[in-house]
């Protein structure tokens, strides 16, 4: 699992060059490159303290390095880690760190610093949303020397590299000096940028970290420092404002609303990149509440759903229809499962509903319940218009087979709250993630009243999930994940709807950028031409 020898050699060479004082080469490379990359982000900031924040988005990864990163083929590659080894029993991971990385306060990024960080993530009192797996997983950390240590785990954990690739590493010295209260606004990391200014809920401005030379070579042809002088993230939610600012050049990088895709593509100043998000939209049933306890009834809804038309009406055909719990953009998706999953078959849906006793008694085109009483199917959804449109499409499709859907619009926090009560019926939601282990959170018996919003779990499914999450061998894990997906498709606690598009617009002046298959934007080698 070593990095390619060439990369190591290149790094060593570069380090030698730098130390040898051949800085001229470096300056030459950076000459004429720079500028400020301005990015729009619809979410506003949270604390930059990764141990309290639930927001682990790219502003964080501009400041903090991580142990691992994900190559373009989605395999895990070293970032702070130079080489590593997993033990036979898959319960220990030994990591050798690169020995030239430093935090921006000058302290070295060494084994002691990593131990401090990992233990802090594993502390149940930490409230970070990433790294939570470490709380139950991590047994202890054994430091061998300045730059090598071993993580000893209680059990094998398949998403371990995924978890570690998401953990921001902070400077322990700075954290202890500044204190947890103020670290969130005065973060000290060792990533490509340094936070210069934060205007809460408006923008964050970062400056190049001049000492940063440890960008993973699998992702970047130049190890750093980054070419850009500054990075500014604007927290603007209005998509039309963002688009206008992209057109005028005030913003260099932003998402393009689906309806404006054609215009953006026709604009010579903007390069448009079209991909799919690693996110899905689905309707969940509260399987703990009658009549949604009946899998046949849930399946009838799946047969009544025309995904092809759904993506046409809700996303102008830019989304992908989805028939299983994992989208193609998350590792573990198995295209063969689409064959066994319920797809649009209105006759079958109607026959199933008839058989279950949901028949149109009064002839108004809408079915009554088995007792012959009026039937309404409440679907809780959030209020942004994109969501409402999806709910309206479902309402129309399901009405066509006689299902009387009632759209209950809720403010988002109220919607999330409702699904934890267990009194809800159907709900329209999304999830976005980069690892199949996400399914454990949705079908964990312990998380009913939490993330298990369908209130669905069986012993069999739990066993399958545990098997998938503890299998480190990729091929075997893929099989185990397929088994999980198959079971979930069969049980139908959700109706899978679509994978939304990721439309990215980039100013033509920005050079040398790239978009990762996981839709993250690789900008550390990007630059504007300067005189």
């Amino acid at each position: 699992m070593n990095k390619s020898g060439f990369a190591v050699l290149a790094l060593v060479l570069l380090a030698a060059l730098l130390m040898g004082g051949v800085v001229v080469a470096q300056d030459d490379m950076m000459a004429g490159k720079g500028g400020r990359l301005v990015v729009a982000d619809a979410n506003s900031n949270t604390s930059f303290d990764p141990f309290v924040s639930s927001w682990h988005s790219w502003p964080h990864y501009a400041i903090y390095p991580t142990l691992f990163s994900r190559a373009l083929d989605m395999s895990y590659v070293g970032y702070l880690a130079d080489s590593w080894e997993v033990s036979e029993d898959s319960k220990s991971l030994t990591i050798n760190l690169i020995d030239y990385a430093t935090f921006t306060d000058g302290t070295p990024i060494d084994a002691a610093a990593l131990k401090w960080n990992l233990e802090k993530y594993a502390d149940p009192e930490s409230t970070a949303s990433t790294g939570r797996a470490l709380i139950t997983l991590l047994d202890n950390i054994e430091v061998h020397d300045d730059y090598s240590f071993t993580m000893h785990m209680n059990s094998p954990h398949a998403p371990l590299f995924f978890v570690l690739a998401g953990l921001e590493i902070v400077s322990p010295a700075a954290y202890e000096a500044i204190g947890p209260d103020d670290f969130g606004t005065n973060p000290v990391g060792g990533g490509p940028f340094i936070l210069k200014e934060l205007v809460t809920d408006n923008y964050a401005l970062f400056e190049r970290n001049p000492d940063f030379t440890w960008a993973p070579p699998e992702l970047y042809d130049h190890p750093g420092p980054v070419f850009l002088d500054q990075l500014q993230i604007l927290f603007i939610g209005e998509e039309q404002t963002v688009l206008a600012a992209l057109e005028t050049g005030e913003i260099s990088l932003a998402g393009i609303p689906t309806q404006n895709l054609a215009d953006a593509q026709a604009n010579p100043d903007i390069d448009v990149h079209v991909a799919q998000l690693s996110q899905i939209r689905y309707v969940g049933f509260n399987t703990s509440k009658d009549p949604w306890t009946n899998p046949d009834l849930r399946k009838a809804f799946a047969y009544a759903t025309d995904r092809q038309e759904f993506v046409t009406l809700a996303w102008d055909d830019l989304a992908q229809p989805l028939y299983q719990p994992l989208p193609p953009t998350i590792w573990g998706h198995n295209p063969e499962l689409d064959e066994i999953a319920p797809s649009f078959d209105p006759d079958k849906a109607m026959a199933m509903l008839d058989e279950l006793g949901y028949v149109d008694v009064d002839g108004d085109g809408l079915r009554e319940d088995p007792e012959g009483n009026a039937w309404t199917v409440p679907l809780a959804t959030a209020s942004p218009d994109e969501w409402l449109r999806q709910a309206e499409v479902l309402e129309a499709q399901w009405r066509a087979v006689g299902i009387p859907l009632q759209i209950d619009v809720l403010e988002f926090a109220a919607l999330v709250d409702l699904t934890t009560t267990g009194t809800h019926d159907l709900f329209l939601l999304l999830y976005g993630y980069q690892d199949p282990s996400i399914l454990t959170y949705f079908f964990d018996p312990e998380r009913k009243g939490g993330s298990n919003r369908a209130w669905f779990s069986t012993d069999e499914l739990t066993d399958l999930l545990v098997a998938a999450d503890s299998q480190l061998d990729p091929d075997l894990r893929y099989e185990a994940v397929t088994a999980v997906s198959t079971y979930i498709i069969e049980a139908s606690p959700w109706v899978y709807l679509a994978v939304p598009p990721a439309l990215t617009g980039v100013r033509a002046e920005l050079m040398n950028w790239r978009i990762h298959p996981d839709t993250s934007f690789l900008y550390w080698n990007a630059y504007f031409e300067t005189e």
């Binding site: 506003s44 900031n45 949270t46 604390s47 303290d49 309290v52 924040s53 639930s54 149940p124 009192e125 409230t127 949303s129 939570r132 209260d181 969130g184 606004t185 205007v199 809460t200 809920d201 408006n202 923008y203 604007l234 603007i236 939610g237 209005e238 039309q240 404002t241 206008a244 600012a245 057109e247 005028t248 005030e250 403010e411 988002f412 926090a413 109220a414 999330v416 709250d417 409702l418 934890t420 999830y431 996400i438 959170y441 312990e446 998380r447 009243g449 939490g450 993330s451």
Partner: protein, 312 residues
């Protein structure tokens, strides 16, 4: 006129302001914790948190204590000028609001001044030239601009002046040029309302016998306008201006989000969607204080404009 009893009145109003603000805050405080669906701990913990982790966060935020105890803690800190830390931003609420408020105050002042001036001018014009083409155009234009939704107007301005003509920036607040479109957006609706109000009141006053008499006696029209008509039309206008100042000091949510502005309106809305209790309380106190203060100011201005008005 602003004699002893007036200053006593002002003093009484200032004294009542504190319990008033406290009352609003208390209602919001209890409502958030008892009645409102949504839980800051759950939202902060994220989608994948286990119930125990949510519980830990709840404890850290002090939300596991009885509401009454939370309230006394809040009161004690409030009395010391501490509004707590934002759940979402992990920054002191007071600091976050203090950073955003100067901007909000500036944009309020600018847009109200511009809106009122234009509104008064249009109102006087349309009243003086009542039932002429000027008046007819006036009613169509003012109603149109009053009815046009803020987000349309904002977006139209952006498309014309920023994207089309490239003369103004789309978003941000770093120079005076950034203020032009937001101020225009806010001023348009206000000027329309004030124009209609001014026109209506002016006509009423202009048609009363005493103004007619003054006119027939040969007083210059402009003097009649200034000395009699305008003064009496001002009361409703001042009321409406006061209400919009009070409202705008609490933030102009739509305008702020369209132009990406660092005002308190977006803070307030985000605080509610995140159930960021301390932040919500902070913005509620701000809004309450703005209204109480501005409405007091309005009552004082009434007495200046119309010296017969007295408060006991």
């Amino acid at each position: 006129m602003v004699g002893g009893f007036m200053s006593k009145y002002i003093l009484r109003r200032i004294l009542i302001a504190f319990p008033l603000i406290l009352a609003v805050t208390t209602v919001v405080f209890v409502m958030l914790r008892v009645a409102l669906p949504g839980d800051p701990a759950k939202l902060m913990a994220g989608d994948r948190a286990s119930p125990e982790q949510v519980e830990i966060i709840r404890r850290k935020l002090g939300l596991d204590r009885p509401v009454i105890e939370q309230y006394f803690i809040f009161l004690r800190n409030f009395a010391q000028g501490d509004l707590g830390r934002s759940v979402k931003f992990r920054e002191p609420v007071l600091g976050v609001i203090a950073k955003a408020f100067p901007f909000t105050a500036k944009i309020t002042l600018l847009s109200v001044t511009v809106g009122t001036t234009i509104g008064l001018l249009i109102g006087i014009m349309t009243a003086v030239y009542q039932r002429t083409w000027i008046d007819n155009v006036g009613i169509v234009v003012t109603v149109f601009f009053f009815s046009i939704p803020t987000f349309w107007l904002g977006l139209m301005l952006i498309l014309i002046f920023a994207v089309g003509l490239r003369v103004l920036p789309v978003q941000g607040a770093s120079s005076w040029r950034h203020f032009i479109m937001p101020v225009a957006t806010l001023a348009v609706g206000q000027s329309a309302l004030i124009a209609r109000l001014t026109r209506s009141s002016m006509i009423e006053v202009l048609s009363t016998d005493y103004v007619r008499t003054a006119r027939s006696k040969g007083l210059a029209p402009r003097r009649v306008l200034a000395s009699h008509a305008l003064q009496n039309t001002l009361i409703p206008v001042i009321t409406v201006v006061g209400l919009s100042v009070g409202g705008l000091l609490g933030g102009a949510v739509i305008t702020e989000s369209i132009f990406g502005l660092p005002g308190v309106g977006r803070l307030a809305i985000d605080a509610i969607s995140n159930r960021d209790y301390p932040m919500i309380q902070g913005t509620v106190i701000l809004v309450a204080a703005s209204f109480v203060f501005v409405n007091l100011l309005v009552d004082i201005i009434y007495a200046f404009v119309d010296p017969r008005i007295r408060y006991e």
